[in-house]
């Protein structure tokens, strides 16, 4: 099992190194197949580890393995240490499984791009980093994986480096993530100071001893939450995710939907003993999740870029996961993470098929009537949309509703979150089906006619709905989105909760009764359907006009002015200070002192040079004069 876990971790790294070192000796296609094969090998290894772990007794399912002690400082030591336990195997399966599908999809999507090899090397590096993040056995290695996924995300968002907007988006994502990394690292420093360790088992064993120090536990939890919020694009560090859609679509599917952005949820669940010591911070996490899911749902209503709509829905869904994890319903959050990985990757990749068919166009206002032209894509997209809205029997139904049910126990705050989450389901239905009806419904738009219908009529070889590598992976994900939720149907059967119970048992106040499950499900499905119907009335039948609320619309189109506010509060003062210091310190002090020094030396030299008359007699006079002075001095001093 341990060997399988190590193979799982190292296989994508080996592929990335091989692609990078082989250079042009490997064909572009070959690089794609190599990356896919390596991630698939990871998936197989993860499956082996999973089944081996299944064979163990439930209380004996945590296996650490250290191959190398990396750092040894007195009593503190940190090593290359991995942990195989139910939580990490679950994440390994999701990351490598969905990752393998998406990397395979990229073989078709990126076909013909100039730098396919670089792309696949980056993808493999990303999968390695993500696996390192979820498999690490101590917080230090987790931070290393955390930083590496940030780096590979930066590289992949800025993959089309000739586009200035992609570079700007990559930088934005990196800076925002770096902020989270910094708070995360600060929390780790505190932990080292007070528990003398970063290994999960030691830290969690010693953490309860710190609970009397409220400041400390709150600061540690806040630091970890800061990291999680930045990585998962929650309020108030959410603005990088929509911009990250500048990257290739499979990247959006893998990193910015299925895996990396959910790392924050994983972190909270993994370090839940620390969060449980700081209940206020847990409440904050849940509140941020609820606020993000509402905000993102509202903004998604007015977006016109197909990928951005899905990006906002990702933020919104991660908001649900934060809500669950913050309330202590860890298993529900992780379960939603899993189903979300399926249907969000599906939506992104189906959107990728649309974009691929329309020669790179992403604006939904130019699309329309694609239903008849791309029927299989339409069905896949529909499955993804229904799963996202959470209608039975699709995957989202099972996972989202139990998160809502968990909120019902937690006093007035819990009910507030519950209402927020329910409002979110209505918004989800509305924005998802707005997108679906606008893109696929109605008559083909002029743009679609030009790019899809005319080439087909002329009999030009058009690649149908996409190459096999793309359509097949989309089909697999559609099936997973359809049946993936049936793994757990609270409260009737709950294997995921049981599986995670040894690592992260659900807190008692987040245990939902069947009555709560029932009413949450009924309301969530009802509101989701209401959103769907509203979207149908407005965007498909056009019975109801879009209400004209210029103020609200402007606020939504500007994404609640977060970018503008950050621009005003951080960027502009930063630039102004830099300019000021550039002018005063750099220009006057540093530059001025150098110029002044040079000028001063020149002047002094000119003055001294004047003494060199070249006249013999002046020299003689000087010698004689100074001698006379010396004589006088010697005589008088004595």
């Amino acid at each position: 099992m341990i060997v399988a876990a190590w193979i799982c971790l190292s296989s994508p790294l080996a592929a990335a190194l091989a692609i990078a070192l082989a250079g042009s000796r490997i064909s572009r296609r070959g690089a794609g197949y190599l990356a896919t094969a390596s991630v698939f090998a990871s998936f197989v290894a993860a499956c082996v580890a999973f089944f081996a772990l299944w064979g163990d007794a439930p209380h004996d399912r945590s296996h650490y393995s250290t191959v190398w002690t990396w750092l040894e400082l007195g009593s503190f030591s940190a090593g290359l240490r991995i942990l195989v336990d139910p939580l990490s195997t679950m994440m390994m399966l999701i990351v490598s499984g969905v990752g393998a599908l998406i990397v395979g999809y990229s073989v078709g999507y990126m076909d013909g791009d100039d730098e396919e090899r670089r792309y696949f090397a980056y993808m493999a590096i990303f999968v390695f980093s993500m696996l390192l993040l979820v498999q690490s056995g101590n917080l230090l290695l987790l931070l290393a994986g955390w930083g590496l996924v940030g780096l590979s995300s930066y590289l992949l968002i800025g993959f089309w480096q000739e586009r200035p907007s992609a570079i700007a988006a990559a930088k934005k994502a990196f800076v925002m993530n770096a902020f989270g990394d910094a708070t995360f690292a600060l929390a780790l420093f505190l932990l080292i100071q007070h528990t003398r360790s970063l290994d999960f088992d030691t830290v969690f064993a010693r953490a309860p001893g710190l609970s009397s120090n409220h400041w400390l536990v709150n600061l540690v939890a806040l630091g970890l939450l800061g990291g999680a919020v930045a990585k998962s694009a929650q309020l108030p560090l959410q603005t990088w995710l929509p911009d990250a859609m500048e990257g290739p679509t499979p990247v959006s599917a893998l990193i910015h939907a299925a895996t990396m952005v959910t790392a924050g949820v994983y972190l909270i669940v993994r370090t839940h003993p620390l969060f449980e010591l700081a209940p206020k911070v847990e409440d904050l996490a849940a509140g941020l999740g609820a606020a993000t899911l509402l905000l993102a749902g509202l903004i998604a209503l007015v977006q016109t870029d197909i990928k951005r709509v899905i990006a906002y829905s990702t933020m919104s869904q991660i908001g649900y996961m934060f809500l669950g994890a913050g309330l202590g319903a860890y298993a529900n959050g992780m379960f939603h993470l899993m189903t979300h990985a399926f249907f969000k990757a599906l939506l992104f990749m189906a959107a990728g098929l649309v974009i691929h068919a329309l020669a790179g166009e992403q604006d939904i206002r130019k699309m329309g009537g694609l239903r008849g032209l791309l029927p299989r894509t339409y069905w896949a997209f529909l499955v993804g949309a229904l799963a996202l809205v959470g209608l039975p029997p699709f995957a989202g139904f099972f996972s989202k509703d139990s998160i809502l049910a968990a909120a019902m126990h937690d006093g007035w705050y819990g009910y507030l979150l519950w209402v927020g989450g329910l409002a979110g389901t209505f918004l989800t239905g509305l924005y998802t089906f707005r997108m679906l009806f606008v893109v696929f419904g109605g008559e083909p738009s002029p743009f679609v006619r030009e790019h899809l219908i005319r080439p087909r009529r002329r009999g030009e070889a058009h690649h149908g709905e996409g190459p096999f590598s793309m359509t097949s992976t989309v089909a697999i994900l559609a099936v997973l989105s359809l049946i993936g939720g049936w793994i757990q149907f609270a409260p009737l059967w709950i294997p995921v909760t049981h599986w995670l119970d040894v690592v992260a048992p659900t807190l008692p106040h987040a245990e939902a009764t069947s009555w709560q499950e029932g009413i949450s499900s009924a309301l969530a499905v009802g509101l989701g359907l209401a959103g769907l119907v509203a979207a149908w009335l407005v965007y498909s039948r056009r019975r109801v006009a879009v209400p004209r609320l210029p103020f609200a619309q402007r606020a939504l189109e500007h994404k609640f002015y977060f970018d503008e506010a950050y621009d005003l509060v951080f960027y502009r003062p930063g630039v102004a200070t830099a300019r000021l210091f550039g002018r005063i310190v750099e220009g006057l002090v540093v530059g001025g002192s150098i110029v002044g020094l040079g000028r001063g030396v020149g002047d002094a030299a000119r003055g001294v040079a004047r003494a060199q008359t070249g006249l013999l007699r002046t020299y003689a006079l000087a010698i004689a004069g100074s001698l006379a002075v010396l004589v006088v001095v010697f005589i008088s001093v004595r």
């Binding site: 008359t613 070249g614 013999l616 003689a620 004689a624």
Partner: protein, 106 residues
Amino acid sequence: MTLGILGPEVSWYLAVAAFLFATGALGVLLRRSPLIVLLSLEIMLNGANLALIAFARHNGSGAGQIFALAVMAVAASEVVVGLGLIVAISRRHLDLDVDKLRTLRG
């Protein structure tokens, strides 16, 4: 050191030495011909020599006289170099005037 000194007091010798030195120094400062300047230098050196010998006699030790001999040897070699320079200058048809030899001006 009560070795009776024959002749005048040591201060008389020193006065003559100072006069010689001053004459030489004025010559160095005022004359423009390098030959005369060299000559004046010799006068200065001889003034110094006289003072050395006078002190030697006064103290009754021979060290000052040895110094004077060394100064004479140095002066002789200095004259060789100096005259050599003057010959070189005149060979290049330059004016023998120290005020015009000022290429070292800063």
